[in-house]
């Protein structure tokens, strides 16, 4: 049961020759698996820490959406810049965010990247090429239009990728930002992560469009849609868009179809979700299960090898947790500085 049954997933990989993922090595595919597993395990640890009341603020889960975040960012180079959503943990990990940073953020520690000034995944690092999101949804689309405009103006061989939720496509910022980027031929990939809901609002109440990718024509940019729970399909569509951006062809709008299984945030009882919907997605369309099947089947990866990755991930999460829990809490003395580059008199 896809989130919007009137919007069948087009098999984009089949259009136009060989899929980029066909060129991925066995190691690269196992790396994809690693990032997806790390995403899931790290979040599971956060759930546990949240149960122990150690997480400060709300926890946003990407359960069931790991493939779209990981697969699309895998198409980027280190010099490229990406802007994630609250649920794009996997994208940030691929771009170099570390588990201990994530844990320190969620535990609100002094040595977290934002030093306790911001919550959850709201942090970034230009050196590694990711910019943290902020609460007002849609705002990062214009900002990333500007980031990538600078790439074009300076003749740098870099591209940008920005995630937007299905909900955020209804914001003025999204509209103005993608249009601005399109007109200015900015090397920007706009990924609409359609996970079926914006808090309690199903995508069908967010837009009457048959599919959100139909918005592409209104901006005069190519639009592609992919099964967001198929990590290779995601990589393929993202890679093509990244290549186009790198070649000076401007913006692509990608819609990735996935499903938000764990609700909006901790407090959300999801009573508005039709019964059975979540279970069906969990049992029939889990991106990790699906990819594990592909790996053990088509790619003939022995179970033990996948198991070893799982164990490595577990160990990394363990180690990061220990570090983060030992981290100090922010000190009040840090609260008042750093608003301006040059503090005014």
């Amino acid at each position: 049961m896809p989130p919007r049954d009137k919007a069948p997933v087009r098999a984009v990989a089949r259009r136009g020759g060989v899929a980029p993922s066909a060129g991925l090595s066995r190691e690269q595919k196992l790396e994809l698996y690693y990032w997806m597993r790390l995403t899931r395990s790290l979040e599971e640890r956060l759930v546990a820490l949240s149960g122990e009341e150690k997480v400060v603020g709300e926890l946003f889960r990407s359960l069931g959406q790991e493939a779209d975040a990981v697969g699309s960012c895998f198409a980027l180079e280190r010099r490229d810049v990406m802007s994630p959503l609250a649920r794009n943990l996997g994208a940030m990990l691929v771009k170099g965010a570390t588990p201990v940073e994530v844990l320190r953020q969620y535990l609100g520690r002094a040595d977290a990247p934002s030093r306790g000034r911001e919550r959850n995944l709201r942090f970034g690092d230009l050196a590694r090429g990711f910019i943290g999101q902020l609460s007002p949804l849609g705002d990062m689309v214009p900002v990333m239009a500007g980031v990538t405009l600078s790439f074009r103006l300076r003749g740098e061989d870099r591209v940008g990728l920005v995630f937007v939720g299905d909900g955020a496509t209804s914001t003025g910022a999204f509209h103005e930002g993608i249009n601005f980027a399109a007109v200015n031929k900015c090397p920007l990939v706009v990924v609409v992560e359609n996970n079926g809901y914006a808090y309690s609002t199903p995508t069908s109440r967010q837009s009457l469009a048959r599919q959100l990718v139909d918005k592409a024509a209104g901006y005069g940019v190519p639009g592609e849609q992919a099964d967001g729970n198929d990590v290779l399909a995601v990589y393929d569509v993202a890679r093509r868009a990244v290549d186009r951006a790198r070649a000076g062809e401007g913006v692509t709008l990608i819609e990735l179809l996935t499903y938000r299984r764990a609700g909006h945030a901790g407090h959300d009882d999801q009573s508005y979700v039709p019964s059975g919907e979540i279970d069906t997605w969990a049992s029939e369309n889990d991106p990790l299960d699906r990819f594990a099947r592909v790996l053990s089947g088509r790619e003939k990866v022995p179970a033990a090898e996948l198991g070893a990755i799982d164990q490595r991930v577990q160990a990394e999460v363990e180690q990061a947790t220990a570090l983060a829990e030992a981290s100090p809490l922010p000190d009040a003395s840090d609260a008042l500085s750093g608003i301006y580059a040059d503090p005014p008199g």
Partner: protein, 323 residues
């Protein structure tokens, strides 16, 4: 009679007004099935149906603009914005369109825009105080209750008002503050402050969650033999000049306290009004205890440092009385 919370008081007011007037309807993202970001509108969809509790796309410009359009036609929309930090998206619609509509084009906008503004532990956006910016816009009214009783009474007044009222709610008060509602049709007039505590030595003028810090400070000060009068503004636009003048003329000393940042916050305006109307009565400068001029950080230790706290208020009053 049992006490209900600040949050329940707001819901009760909306519920009563929806029952009373079929033109009242609700507009906002996730206010229906989900009952709103903080469950303020919980249960109202079931009671009034989807044509009076309208879930919208995630579009603050459109929600506020559409409320104005429906209001022109005589309806009385009550808009929920998810966090009044996001009210910034609707600034143009509120300040340029709604606020000027009557003056410029004779169009009335009987509408309420509500949502949580203050709160603790939300970080730089969820709890950004936005009240001062809107108090500056002629054509808008702004209320910000501190008590459950006022939350109910002001909401009813706001819904009945023939102009646009911005109704700020403080997330930390939602569950923490309770009150017993007066019987009957409990309407608190817009534009009237309330003396929350009588006193003779100093006037502390405040609003919203800061009121409770001020009340704590006043108790502490009483132990030190200092009698503080506390004025809860309740309405920020229009300000109740008479009430401000009355308390300052009584005590000759004034402190203004708010959780909004200092520069350009409402305390400046209030200081100017006191200075204009009560200069000769003042035995000391009007002091301000406010948030520091920084974005509000998320971690509690940092946030506590940025926001004004009870000891800051006590200290400022001591300075005032020993001036």
């Amino acid at each position: 009679m049992t006490a209900i919370s600040y949050l329940e008081a707001i819901r009760e007011a909306i519920d009563e007004e929806m029952a009373r007037d079929p033109d009242v309807f609700l507009l906002g993202a996730d206010i229906g099935a989900a009952g709103g970001a903080f469950k303020v509108t919980d249960g109202l969809l079931a009671r009034y149906g989807a044509s009076r509790v309208i879930d919208t796309p995630l579009s603050e410009i459109a929600i506020v603009g559409a409320a104005a359009g429906a209001a022109h036609m005589g309806m009385r929309p009550v808009v929920e914005l998810p966090a009044l930090g996001s009210i910034a998206n609707a600034s143009d619609m509120l300040a340029n369109y709604v606020a000027t509509a009557r003056y410029r084009a004779g169009l009335s906008c009987p509408m309420v825009v509500r949502g949580h503004a203050g709160g603790y532990g939300g970080g730089p956006f969820h709890v950004r105080s936005a009240e001062a910016g809107f108090v500056h816009v002629p054509g808008l009214k702004v209320v910000y209750p501190a008590t459950a009783e006022d939350a109910k009474g002001l909401m009813k007044a706001a819904i009945r008002d023939d102009d646009c009222v911005l109704f700020f709610e403080h997330a930390d008060l939602y569950g923490r503050i309770k009150g017993v509602m007066p019987a009957g049709d409990h309407v608190v007039p817009i534009g009237k402050a309330r003396v929350a505590r009588e006193g003779t030595d100093v006037s502390i003028i405040t609003y919203a969650a800061a009121l409770w810090k001020v009340v704590d400070a006043a108790r502490e000060l009483a132990l030190l033999g200092i009698s503080a009068e506390v004025l809860d503004l309740r309405t920020l636009a229009p300000l109740d000049d008479d009430a401000i003048e009355a308390t300052v003329r009584k005590t000759h000393r004034a402190l203004v306290v708010h959780e909004d940042t200092r520069t350009g916050g409402l305390a400046g305006e209030i200081t100017a009004r006191i200075n204009e109307r009560c200069f000769e009565w003042l035995d000391a400068p009007v002091l301000r205890v406010t948030a520091h001029d920084v974005p509000l950080p998320f971690a509690r230790s940092l946030e506590d440092r940025v926001l004004p706290q009870t000891p800051d208020i006590v200290l400022a009053v001591k300075r005032l009385v020993s001036y």
